[in-house]
Amino acid sequence: MRRLFAALLAAFGLVSARRYETLSRSLDGLKAAAAEWKKKASEAEAQQRSMQAELSRHSQLVVKLRGSVEKWKEYHVDVKKLRDRLADTERELMVARDHLMAIEVKLDILEGAANVLDKRTRSSVPKDRHESGARA
């Protein structure tokens, strides 16, 4: 009997009040779920935008770091060159010092010879021959 009644209502496009209540609740639930998903989609979009911005920032950082790495590589090469030059300079300094020592020793000899020759000259030449004797 109930089925017959429901079929009759359906023929006129109608439903029972109970059925109406059930469907109405389902509709509300679906609306809420849709709103929830919409919110989530919106959040995801925002997150995507944020990540894109982050990605862009990291990309710039990578470019910057690549530049720095190149600079460090050049710096490392420069440091190695400087170290080599320093070693060369140290060697040259050592050689220069060796020569300086030899020169100073030779100067000592020359100075000594000059002193003894001066002394001998003074003692061999009579004083009164070259001194005027004029009184100051």
């Binding site: 300086l100 020592m101 030899a102 100075e111 000594g112």
Partner: protein, 331 residues
Amino acid sequence: MVTPPVVSLVLTGRNDGYGGDFNARFFRSLRFNHQQFTERGIAYELVFVEWAPPGNARLIRDQVFDAIPELDAAACSWYVVDPRYQELLSLNPRLEYLEFPAKNVGVRRARGRFVLTSNCDVYFGRRIFEVLAEGTLEPRVLYRAPRHDLTLPAERPPIDWSVLEDPGNLAGPAHVLKRPYMGSATGDFVLLDRESFHEIGGFNEVYRVARIGIDRNVLVKALSSGLRIADIGGPVYHENHEGSYRLNPTAYAGRETEAPWGDRRWHSGGVSYVNPPTWGLSDAPVREIGERVWYLDFSWAAMPPLVDLQRIVLPVARPGSPAPGLYVRKR
């Protein structure tokens, strides 16, 4: 053919009262050393160079056999050097004694297979006599010995091992030889085979501006010539006396050029030398004036040039050998 002695002991001095009582100190040490050589049967020759002796004093040669009668005149070679060599060789009027050109006179004429140059107030330690007696000395090795300075009691007891080896007589901490030069108090002990001594041409006689440091300089020359330097393993003992450089090495600090031993800051550790072929006054006319006593007359032909700068050279750095000395600012 006469067998050469094992070792020639080359000493130099003159009767001028150096250090207060030069002759007494010399006779004490010579007596002791001679006794040790003799007791161990070591054939040695004493080569003594009386360098520029004062004209108003007796030669040491004329006193030594009275002071030490046991000394064998036949085992001694005495060279008396005309004072004009001192006067004309010196490049520093304050240097009263050209110790190393004097020693070269002895080294050049020594006959021993090994030549030991030392000083007149040095007593050789046990180890030195042991090594000489064992005959284990190697050629091309310059042997060094550390010096122990002694302050002996005023009453001057007879010198024996108990006196020399008494730590209570040490004037200070015993010296330790340091590689590579082992250069402390080198003038007191340089022992080298005769052939090598001739190869290096003796001590530097091109640089006649200082006496100090010439002994160290021979070590640079030796290393540069490919010789090895080794510690003989025991000390020599030195009797302290007035006027000794060792007692007050900084006495002339700030006025180094006035020092009677020359300026100690010269680069003795950094340069080498090539002595002229006439080193040791080899061309000096010699005449015999007594039993094994020779007088070296003055001759310009025996004199090296006053200045011969090309003979000052840089030492050769050899693989495995130490580098030449570090530069020390002098002026």
